[in-house]
Amino acid sequence: MVFKAVKPDSRILILQIIVASILGFSFHSEFAVISLFLVIDFLLFYWYGVKVFIKRLLSYAVMYGIIWGFTTTNIPILSVIFPPFLMMMIKVYPIYLLLKLLVDKAPMDELLYSLDRIHFPKSLSIPLMIVYRYVPTIIRELHYINENLKMRGLNLSLSNIRHLIKTLENYLVPLLFRSERISEELSAASLCKGLSIERKRTCCTNVRFTKEDYLYLLGMAIVIVLLFVLNYLTL
């Protein structure tokens, strides 16, 4: 068995989410905001390949296309409501992509250990890890619930759109009951496996900053400076 810690270190993957959030919301130049997305999309190209790169690029372009469509056609009410909402989506989208990268690439044990090393309180890191663990589970649960509702003709569809609140309730009620059951079982299983706020954890891989991590941080710093310059020049 090969025991090698994932590179870059999980702490760097968290740091880049924080940095991207700050940059995305502080930039006033549209060009800088787009450049930030492109940098992140190139990062996805490195991790996931060309297909994901193109898919994300297209999604981003579609969002911009819709904003452009609403602002140029000037449809009453819609042209006022939708563009600010989509602008918000455009700012949040790169953060979501980096969050997904963290969930996909950082092993949970390394993440917990890394946070422990920087003295991040366990009373916060453990609940955060449970949320991280629950994201893929909740998607699956919703899929099963949707299939059942579909079989009974109670799913979200055009014919049920008039009873939107009732339809949403149909999704939420089983999801809440399942969540309650899963969270109880997961907590019990974790306690039995020795997870504790007081006890010091170890990790089966050697989690520490290496040359690769420092180089990655240097690259990150250069990109941040370039984006700031771009934001300043294109205002």
């Binding site: 068995m1 025991f3 949970m108 044990d109 059942n148 149909n170 170890t202």
Partner: protein
């Protein structure tokens, strides 16, 4: 002979859950020695799970309540210690493999308990290498937990506590979600642990796979120990005695082969005909091909086959949830689109919790039928037929496993669905509830429904089916029509001579 050490002891022990008036367990006197293999069994709600929760320290730390008497695990009194204090000695495996993993990958789940216990990195690596080789799980290492079959998940659950070096294994209904092959994998794993001298406690409804492993079987009823059987009594225990005590069979070969005859119904007959169906997931080879068969009112069609052969996909195609890559499906002699098939089908999933959306059993029955003038009377009548009339105002999630299964079937009657599809309806059910579900399915067939049932539970299947669909490894589906069907075919398929 070396004197064995006491690992677990209950002395006049009783426990009542917080906010409950009834005893979870009452006046338990039980001692488990090092290296013993104990099976806890009894009907649902008899106190098996409460006992296992005491053994892994979840009671009274996580599940609070009032306790009296004494319970010691590895010399530690459970009233004075936290759950985590036992994690270095006791390893737990739970019923639902989906909710017992903290991480998302096999590679990170295996060392998780060891890391929590603060075992040094080099030692964890050494133990992990040993676990992977000894339990033969090399092929699972690179997988995500979502890619594992239920059997593989239980194997990983055992392997992770094995890596932490525990000596006591407490398993709560570990086979509830396992197929035939998965249960066999679990049996082999438990055999290996027993050979290594580990102390094992298994709380179970399904007993057949533990028959040759158990040193003692503790039968619980209403929170008390009703009877204790030693290994020779377990081997010679008759199925009649087990059934009369509300327990499942120990020897599946003893189950009598009886033909199921469904009398003709007065309802308008219905039929389903599949013609040359093909199915494949994107970028994968055909799951099954050239599937043709027909079935009509009164047929209870068992769908059997190994894990991953596409049994669930087949029923999902038939009921209109998936689109086949080729072929067509006729209902009552006419081509039926996916939407038309969905309107005439009802799907009872393995986990029925996904199927309930309303605040009470009665509201659940009325969902989607609000505009029908006689819906309320009809719902009450159906609930009465399914012995659920006393529960019409309770929330569906508070029903027992068997009651939930019956409510699902009752929902299908509300919509007059003639095509019923069941996916593993007996997982986690005790003998009585299994029997009730079987009778309900037969009654629906007598009322003119066509019923498809996927199951790996031979006890349930042996006296239920009228015909078979065998999903084979070679991607073809073999049909055993009602006129050719004999229940002995089923026992051969389940390879009982090797169990």
């Amino acid at each position: 002979m070396e004197k064995s050490k006491e690992k677990i002891s209950f002395d006049g022990f009783s426990f009542t859950y917080k906010e409950s008036d009834n005893f979870g367990v009452h006046d338990i006197n039980l001692t488990i020695q090092e290296g013993e293999f104990i099976v806890l069994t009894g009907p649902s709600g008899c106190g098996k799970t409460t006992l296992t929760r005491c053994m892994n320290g979840l009671i009274p730390d996580f599940f609070e309540g009032k306790l009296s008497g004494n319970c010691q695990i590895c010399g530690m009194d459970i009233s004075e210690h936290e759950t985590g204090d036992y994690s270095a000695y006791v390893g737990s495996v739970f019923q639902d493999p989906r909710s017992q993993f903290f991480t998302l990958h096999v590679k990170t789940e295996l060392p998780f308990p060891s890391e929590n216990l603060g075992i040094p990195m080099e030692q964890i690596q050494k133990r992990l290498d040993g676990t992977v080789k000894e339990l033969h799980i090399e092929s699972l290492l690179q997988k995500s937990i979502f890619q594992l079959s239920s059997g593989e998940k239980q194997k990983v659950a055992v392997a992770s506590v094995y890596t932490a070096g525990v000596n006591i294994y407490v398993l709560d209904e570990p086979s509830a979600n396992l197929d035939w092959g998965g249960t066999e994998q679990l049996r082999q794993l438990l055999k290996k642990l027993k050979e290594q001298g580990c102390t094992i406690v298994v709380s179970e409804h399904k007993l057949y796979y533990l028959r040759n492993l158990a040193d003692r079987m503790i039968i619980l009823q209403n929170g008390k120990i009703q009877k204790e059987l030693d290994s020779s009594e377990i081997i010679h225990c008759s199925n009649d005695w087990l059934v009369s005590n509300g327990l499942r069979h120990l020897d599946l070969k003893q189950i009598a082969h009886t033909s199921v005859v469904i009398p003709k119904s007065d309802h308008t007959p219905v039929s389903i005909r599949a013609e040359n169906l093909y199915f494949k997931y994107p970028r994968e080879s055909f799951l099954w091909k050239d599937v043709s068969f027909s079935a009509e009112s009164g047929d209870i069609i068992g769908i059997v086959g190994e894990n991953g052969t596409g049994k669930s996909t087949l029923i999902r195609v038939l009921m209109g949830l998936e689109k086949p890559n080729g072929g067509k499906i006729n209902l009552c002699g006419k081509y039926a689109s996916r939407q038309q098939r969905r309107k005439k089908s009802f799907y009872v999933m393995q986990d029925v919790d996904y199927q309930f959306f309303a605040g009470s059993v009665l509201e659940e029955m009325l969902s989607g039928h609000e505009k029908e003038w006689n819906a309320l009377e009809k719902a009450k009548e159906i609930l009465k037929n399914f012995n659920l009339e006393d529960y019409q105002n309770v929330h569906p999630s508070t029903l027992s496993g068997g009651q939930k299964q019956r409510l699902s079937i009752a929902l299908s009657c509300m919509g007059d669905m003639p095509f019923l599809y069941f996916d593993e309806p007996t997982s986690g059910l005790d003998a009585e509830n299994m029997q009730l579900v079987r009778e309900t399915i037969k009654r629906q067939a007598e009322n003119g429904c066509v019923v498809f049932v996927i199951t790996h539970d031979y006890e349930f299947a042996a006296t239920l089916f009228t015909s078979l669909l065998i999903v084979q490894d070679d991607h073809f589906v073999k049909r055993i029509a009602p006129e050719q069907y004999q229940s002995s075919i089923l026992s051969k398929l389940f390879e009982l001579e090797e169990s």
